[in-house]
Assembly symmetry: C2
Homo-oligomer: 400 residues x 2
Amino acid sequence: MGRVVLKYGGSSVATIEKMQLLAPKILQRAILGEQIVIVVSAMGNSTNHLLDLAKKASSHPPKREIDLLISTGEQVSISLFTMVLKEMGGDAIALTGFQAGIHTIGSHTKNKIKEIDTRVIEKHLEAGKIVVVAGFQGLNDEGDITTLGRGGSDTTAVAIAAKLHTHAEIYTDVDGIYGVDPRLFPQAKKINTITYEEMKEMAFLGAKVMEPRSIEIGHRYGVKIYVASAHGDVAGTWIMEESPVEEKQITGLSISQKVVMVTLRNVPNKPRVIADLFAALAQNEVNVDIISKTTSIQDLINVAFTASSDDFEAIETVVQSIQKNIPSIEPYYESNIVKVSVVGTGMRTQSGVAAKLFTLLADHDIEFKLVTTSEISISYTMDKSYQEIAVQVIASAFGL
Amino acid sequence: MGRVVLKYGGSSVATIEKMQLLAPKILQRAILGEQIVIVVSAMGNSTNHLLDLAKKASSHPPKREIDLLISTGEQVSISLFTMVLKEMGGDAIALTGFQAGIHTIGSHTKNKIKEIDTRVIEKHLEAGKIVVVAGFQGLNDEGDITTLGRGGSDTTAVAIAAKLHTHAEIYTDVDGIYGVDPRLFPQAKKINTITYEEMKEMAFLGAKVMEPRSIEIGHRYGVKIYVASAHGDVAGTWIMEESPVEEKQITGLSISQKVVMVTLRNVPNKPRVIADLFAALAQNEVNVDIISKTTSIQDLINVAFTASSDDFEAIETVVQSIQKNIPSIEPYYESNIVKVSVVGTGMRTQSGVAAKLFTLLADHDIEFKLVTTSEISISYTMDKSYQEIAVQVIASAFGL
């Protein structure tokens, strides 16, 4: 009998009414013989509401208790979703993360799944029940309730699918994955299939549909992931090993909006100095993205890097402490920056993508500040004023 | 080092601000060296809010999922209370029912505590932490989250106190136990100490301060229970084995408001018929309270009983089905009835309480319908119009 894991995000289960809209489709599939696991997120904005209470209770809420607090969000949604399914004639059972056998490891509020003991899930599936599992949460070795951080429910769904040797269907408020965000480029085309690598690269580069972690798990265990609209009927996008359609030069274009670019002038050209800088940034949990260093025959060089603008304060603190030892360093911060990235496994085998892009940018007088390349992507940082024209030009030229 | 279990009800922890008012008193006691376990209920009306969602999701919400749903209420309050305590400089840790080792047994939404494994609580107490435990909930042998029904948080607190060999302090929105409800008799005096038996009898007879179940556990394990106001500073009431003060004839007076009185006329005077009636009522979960049967030399007698007015429909159904077999029965329902009960262990040793009561009622032209007595209480049912004068007369005569 076919098995499937369906995941519904918070906006898809924001109200009882929305759950009641989803239930008939699920029950129909159950009647047709599928064994169904449903992973749900917390309803709507309930997690943020709980976090607001935590902020009111404490200036630095302890993370163990944050996990305990926000994990109630999914516990509420699985209980209610199960009630809706049963009310409509289905046989269903709700399981919290720990009841579903999800063991986690790591720091509170950003745990990783260590292992899933799917015996309870499988027992209920075999008994003909729809199993409704709380996404985003688990239990660690100390018996503490934990949460998985951003995209945690997707991760739960893909990891359960891996253990059950089936695929995962991720239902969300978008109807699939587009080559370009349709809000930026209304003519954007939906992608029917995309490889794990391309999707991971796009996610890392700013596409918000899925977190890289869940795609990584799908990739490692060969779990096909289908992304589609929760409430629509149009076909979505499959994320899988090999795209069966003809290979394109570029699959997608992503924009990262919240970018800060830091240029440090007059840095001594010594490996130790640069190593210390990035070690200090890492210690302060700054995720550095693009790094650029001028080659110089002189003793002083320029070092530039980008990071999330959320980390602005942490970066300033680190730079100030380094300036105490090396007063020559002059920092220069730019926050009105976007990163435009193009992704496609086609770049591996088809040459000339980089050349075509540089020409396009030059033809349209688009100035970029930094450029970085990976095996399957090229990213440019540029002033936000160029974003619109860059998206138009690239998406049109590559038929996204 | 002294240990104590403190319990705070939902209205005492309804907001972060209320928690912030409670925290300094608790922290002060911790600084003075007490090992403190705090049991909290769900914040304010949050449980009712969750039950409303359940009713919206299902006409007959499955009870297993109701437990899963409403148990989030205490999980939220322990998380936030712990944050408040830590923010104010205390060292605290939040534990859900299952994390605190509370094993339960029975039907969902009305489980009983089977056993408490206090090793985790004691480990944290020894480490100097204030342990904040979710009341009202536990885990059964199947690994399902359960709740303990009405007064469940009191039960949790008293049961933990029993295992830790200490007393329980129940903080609530009243400042102790009164001989008569002060809303009915403003001159009512607060009781300093009351025995378990008296308190149980008063709770069964309608006093709403504590549920009988937690007092029963306190009685069985010799746990002294202190009931006082969460936010006030006046002395409360101790519930304990023996009242150290001089014995009074009557300790308290309770009123049950939601009473229906049913009189069945022309019932065949056969034990089987009466047995079948009360068996059918029990099967329909009607809790029959007072039962009265006219002695008669004839073949037909009258049977009267009282029950909660919540059970009115169930009673009607039972009576109608019995009428089908015995058409002679004429039912007569009175719903504007109250039950006035006086309680006191002093009745055991001091005679004349009943006589004094009957005289009081007669002197003031108070007509009662039924009377019933236990070893330590006497209850009268009467028309609601007599309630006020009955309370005045009895409370004044016995100095309550």
